[in-house]
Structure formats: structure tokens, C-alpha cells
């Protein structure tokens, strides 16, 4: 979680210094990413959305190659041709990062269909936000996955913001998971800032999907602590609301809980931060020092 937080904060700082393009961070949503991805098997497949750095890093993505893609360098996961927020990494089982809201929902049933037809027991996890839950494809995809009996774990990371519009202005209900019953599938809402609660809920949900080969809608309630993209002064955000969620910062909460239980010492926590800093120092240097794609790449891989 610390790696994700620091990666995103450094991405934002790097942008502010003019060293990389603007990006959409997942600061505040780390527990949701880590809790869900930790509940998956290595051969399970993932589709995600524009706030994907957490999912990718939790899955084991190399932060250097990730930052290289953000910077459009040849060493990035997509050779610099896809760019920030658009990483697909076959070797990690991450099929798609869609910046078109809902695109991940469109493809997920098909990935699961392929798994089913081959008789595998992998499951497909599809991360999307409360904004995508307002798209028509949310209905199409959940319904299709249900009627086709496909092993998709739909994970709605409800972070209360749809770009610059508060979720409350876009729907009359608070719980997106309650919509599961409309498709005849199971749904559950969990505190998305409590990584242990997310892990427990996701483990149970993933096991159900794996066993029943039916979709499941898991909603993690969390909060986007930074703006929609960088830069964003969050002038439109209610200050009291932001403060209340900052007080529930998932990383601070986990650290406090581990310190209190004795599972982590102050020295241990400092060591984690130091290791993360060193790793990211190397990653950002690697990315910044990497070459741009060759101009030949302009016209390659358009059509085989």
C-alpha cells in the first residue's frame, strides 16, 4: 500500500516538476486494490480502469516499467505507445486498463467466456468505479455475465467522485452492490479503506465465483483523496468531507492497527518507508533515463 501511495505521490510531484504528463492517481484507494488483488490467484485475470496503478502494483508490476509507460518511454509496459493510465500487461494477467469509463466492463464477460470455454478455473476480476456504474454497459455486462454464468468478480470501487461530480448527484441509492439482486447474482458492500476487511470479503467472493462460476458484485467504499487528475486543486470538494476521509486514511489506519497489536514496530514502519523510497528512486531514475520509442514505432503494430 505504501508503494502505491508513494508511486502516485511521486507521479504527481513529477508532473508538477514538468518531468511527466498529468495522471489520475488512486491515492486513498490503496486498501481496495491491495485487498482484492491479494485475494486472487496468480493465474486469475484482471481488467481495470484509469485509476489502475494500485491494481498493477499490487499485482506485482515493476514500478520502473510502469513509470516508463507513464512517461511514454520505450521500456514501458506498452513500449510508450499506450501511455499513462492505459497499461495492459499480459505477463501480469492484466488484460486491459480502460480510460474510457466502462470499457473494462465491456470486455470482462468475454475474457471470462474464453476461460469457461477452455474449462479453466481461473476467475476474471473487473475493477470499475461508481461512475462506470452509471453507464449502460454496467447493466449489459452484469446481465450478460449472469445469464452466461461467467466467473467474473465485479469490483466497484466507489470513491464518491465521478471526475468533478459527487456520486450523490448521479444516483439516488448509496449502495451499488444492492443492484446485484437485479441480475440474480450476489453482491456485498465492504469498507474499502480497511484492507483486512477487503481481503476477507474479496477472498470469500473470489471463492464463490471460482466454485459457482457465477459473477459476484463486490463494492468497496472508499474515497479519492486527491483530485480527478493532476493538477486539480479540489476546490469543488467539501472540506469537512475530505477531512473526514483523510482521518480514515487506509494506510495510516493499517499502520496504527499493526503498531497497536505489536505486529509492526516503529522501526519496522520506518524501514518499509525507506525500502519503498529506495525502490521508487531506482524506478523513477530508470524511467527518466529510458529512451523514447524509435520513430519507426509510429507505423508499427497498426494492423498485422
Amino acid at each position: 500500500m505504501q508503494l502505491i501511495r508513494s508511486f502516485e505521490e511521486r507521479s504527481a510531484a513529477s508532473f508538477a516538476e514538468g518531468r511527466s504528463p498529468g495522471t489520475c492517481t488512486c491515492v486513498g484507494q490503496e486498501a481496495s486494490a491491495v485487498g482484492v488483488v491479494a485475494a486472487l490467484r496468480e493465474d486469475d485475470l484482471i481488467l481495470t480502469n484509469h485509476r489502475s496503478a494500485g491494481h498493477l502494483l499490487a499485482r506485482g508490476a515493476d514500478p520502473g516499467r510502469l513509470m516508463a509507460e507513464v512517461m511514454g518511454r520505450a521500456t514501458g509496459y506498452c513500449g510508450g505507445k499506450s501511455g499513462t493510465l492505459h497499461v495492459s500487461a499480459k505477463e501480469l494477467g492484466v488484460i486491459l486498463t480502460s480510460t474510457i469509463v466502462g470499457g473494462e466492463l465491456s470486455l470482462a464477460p468475454g475474457v471470462a467466456l474464453s476461460v469457461s470455454m477452455k474449462g479453466g478455473d481461473e476467475i476474471v476480476t473487473c475493477f470499475f468505479g461508481d461512475g462506470a456504474a452509471c453507464e449502460g454497459i454496467f447493466h449489459e455486462a452484469l446481465n450478460l455475465a449472469a445469464v452466461w454464468k461467467l466467473p467474473v468478480l465485479f469490483v466497484c470501487e466507489n470513491n464518491e467522485w465521478q471526475a468533478f461530480v459527487h456520486r450523490r448527484e448521479t444516483m439516488l441509492t448509496d449502495d451499488i452492490a444492492s443492484r446485484a439482486s437485479a441480475y440474480g447474482i450476489e453482491g456485498r458492500t465492504v469498507d474499502g479503506n480497511d484492507v483486512e476487511a477487503v481481503l476477507a470479503a474479496a477472498t470469500e467472493a473470489a471463492a464463490k465465483v471460482r466454485a459457482t462460476r457465477m459473477p459476484f458484485l463486490l463494492e468497496t467504499k472508499t474515497y479519492r483523496l486527491r483530485g480527478h487528475f493532476e493538477p486539480d486543486d479540489q476546490g469543488y470538494v467539501d472540506k469537512a468531507e475530505l477531512a473526514s476521509w483523510k482521518a480514515r486514511d487506509p494506510i495510516a489506519a493499517l499502520r496504527a492497527s499493526l503498531l497497536e497489536s505489536g505486529a509492526l514496530t516503529a522501526g519496522g514502519a520506518a524501514a518499509i518507508e525507506r525500502r519503498v523510497a529506495e525502490r521508487l528512486d531506482a524506478a523513477f531514475t530508470f524511467a527518466a533515463d529510458s529512451p523514447w520509442p524509435s520513430l519507426d514505432e509510429l507505423t508499427t503494430h497498426v494492423y498485422a
Binding site: 506498452c78 470486455l107 468475454g110 467466456l113 477452455k118 503494430h301 494492423y303 498485422a304
Partner: protein, 329 residues
């Protein structure tokens, strides 16, 4: 491999035969679409395939074009070769994002192709109205990463559809519904693959070149026969693949005839025909003895009333008048 039936088949039969042959050959090929299974497809393009290949490979879907094409893309990225039917190609507009963003750009973004085919009936002339008669090829043919194919003969329908299914990238396959039962031919032995990206010279001539595709091909051939009686020999080129366009065949013909007429059913402005005309302006200018002529539908929706639709579609009189004028230029 199943042998092609002997004797004449329609273009619609040829589509069904191609689907069956490819499903037989390759277990990764699956069909998805609205009413394609139990009902056999709105135009019966998949009739009998559910019985033959089962519901796991011939999949009836809800009415969800975006989700169908999205599912096809997702499945293709994990090894399947989905062929999606748009019940009418007009409805592909509901899957526009999936086709132009997710299918067309995936290889560029990741190096991995999206081997899907999106096929279905297009075109007018059957009084189906503004939402069931369009020739939407122009919307898609300017999207890098796609191939756009429009067969005009039964042989091409089979050979090109088989090529499309075997292609490692997304192919849009527009079947003109007016030709479904009117275009007939005998299928060749063997695979009969017709390569994507290669135009066909349907009739040779020395006086002018007609560049066209789809249901305009038989119109052009009838027109050329009439012109021949008047002593004008028109060469007819059936583009077959609109993207990528076979520049070589078009240019070679115009180099010979020095006069070009572009004929199409899609509306006039900013379409595939305009691209063909631009190609000629750019690369055939020195050989041309007359301005390039376009005979097209007007820039209107496809009307419903029979008299209006007949006026909308390019017909023999319009074509012949334009061709005679060009020949005399």
C-alpha cells in the same frame, strides 16, 4: 473440411458455408449475436449452425451490441476467434466505441491483435428505412487498425469471410442485404480464400474505369454492358476491401483508361469514394483526361418511401448519364 456444395449458391448461403467451414476447421471460432442461434439469424445467415455446433459455439445474446462486441474482444484476447453478427450493420453504431477504440487500437497499444469479425447486413433498396438501410462503411474505414470488407459475389463472400476469420486483427464484414439472395455463383473447390486488401477487375475496358463496391457492382456491370453497345468500354473495379484500399489495382486501371468514375451507395461526402477520388487526384493526375466523376447517394438519410428510396440510390439512368458524359469529355 467440408466440401462446398456443387451448383449455384447465393451470397447468403456462401456466408453460412464460410462460417460452418471455419467452425469445422478451428474450434476457437464462436458465433455471437442477436437471434443467431434458435432463429438462425434475422436473414438466416447462421441457420442450422446451432444444431450443428451447439449452444457453446453459437451464442444467442441479449440485445446489447456494445456488450457483444466487447465480449468478443475480451474472448479474442484469451484465444477465441469470435464472429459477431450485427443484426443490421446500422446497429454497429451502438458498438462504435468497442470497434474503433478497443478493437482497432489494441494492437497498437499492446502489440496484441484482436482477431474478431463483426459481420452483418448493410445497404438499402429493400424499403427498410433510415435505421436499417445504411451503408456505414465510411464511418469505420477511416479507423486505422481495422479492415473493412464488402463482398459483392458469393465466391468473395465465402473466400473473404474465411480470410477475415483467419485474420489476426479486427475485420468488419458488410454484407449487402440486397445481394443476399440475388448474387449467386458457384463456389470453387478447396478453401477458396480471397485475400483481404485486393480489389477485383470485374470487367476489362479501355475507355473509363468505374471504381465501386457492394451492391453497386452489378449496377456497374449492367451499365458497362449498356455502354458497350454504344461503343464505350468501361472497366469495372470491385474494391471488395475498402480498408486497406488496393491502390495498385485502381491506379493501374486508370493509367490505362485515363478516366475514372467512382460509384457508391453510401452518402456522398467524406466517404470511401472521396478517398478513392483523392487517391486519383494525388497519384493519377498525370494520366487523367477528365475530372474524376462521382455517382453517389445524396447527403441525406436513407428514406423509407419506395419512390424516395429509388431516387436516393444511384440507378442505371444516373450512372449511364454520368458515364456517357465522362466518355465524351
Amino acid at each position: 473440411m467440408i466440401a462446398a456444395p456443387s451448383g449455384e449458391v447465393t451470397l447468403l448461403d456462401a456466408v453460412r458455408i464460410a462460417l460452418a467451414e471455419e467452425m469445422e476447421r478451428d474450434g476457437r471460432v464462436v458465433l455471437m449475436g442477436e437471434d443467431i442461434g434458435v432463429y438462425g439469424g434475422a436473414f438466416k445467415a447462421s441457420a442450422g449452425l446451432l444444431e450443428r455446433f451447439g449452444p457453446k459455439r453459437v451464442i444467442d445474446t441479449p440485445v446489447v451490441e456494445e456488450a457483444i462486441v466487447g465480449a468478443a474482444i475480451g474472448a479474442s484476447l484469451r484465444g477465441l476467434r469470435p464472429v459477431v453478427e450485427m443484426q443490421f450493420f446500422d446497429f454497429a453504431s451502438r458498438a462504435f466505441d468497442m470497434i474503433t477504440n478497443f478493437a482497432a487500437k489494441h494492437r497498437y497499444r499492446t502489440g496484441l491483435g484482436v482477431p474478431i469479425v463483426v459481420r452483418g447486413p448493410s445497404g438499402g433498396g429493400v424499403q427498410a428505412g433510415p435505421f436499417h438501410s445504411q451503408s456505414p462503411e465510411g464511418y469505420f474505414a477511416r479507423t486505422p487498425g481495422l479492415a473493412v470488407v464488402v463482398p459483392s459475389t458469393a465466391q468473395d463472400a465465402r473466400g473473404l469471410l474465411k480470410a477475415a476469420i483467419r485474420d489476426d486483427d479486427p475485420v468488419l464484414f458488410l454484407e449487402h442485404k440486397l445481394l443476399y439472395r440475388r448474387a449467386k455463383g458457384t463456389l470453387p473447390e478447396g478453401d477458396g480464400i480471397v485475400p483481404i486488401g485486393k480489389a477485383a477487375v470485374r470487367r476489362e475496358g479501355r475507355d473509363l474505369t468505374i471504381v465501386t463496391w457492394g451492391a453497386m457492382v452489378p449496377l456497374a456491370l449492367d451499365g458497362a454492358a449498356e455502354l458497350a453497345r454504344e461503343g464505350v468500354e468501361a472497366e469495372v473495379i470491385d474494391l471488395r476491401t475498402l480498408l486497406p484500399m488496393d491502390e495498385g489495382t485502381v491506379l493501374e486501371s486508370v493509367r490505362k483508361t485515363s478516366k475514372a468514375l467512382v460509384l457508391h451507395e453510401e452518402s456522398r461526402t467524406l466517404g470511401v469514394g472521396a478517398e478513392a477520388a483523392a487517391l486519383l487526384a494525388e497519384k493519377a493526375f498525370e494520366w487523367l483526361d477528365a475530372p474524376v466523376v462521382r455517382v453517389t447517394a445524396p447527403d441525406t438519410p436513407v428514406p423509407f418511401a419506395p419512390a424516395l428510396e429509388a431516387a436516393y440510390l444511384p440507378g442505371p439512368a444516373t450512372l449511364l448519364a454520368a458515364a456517357r458524359k465522362l466518355a465524351a469529355y
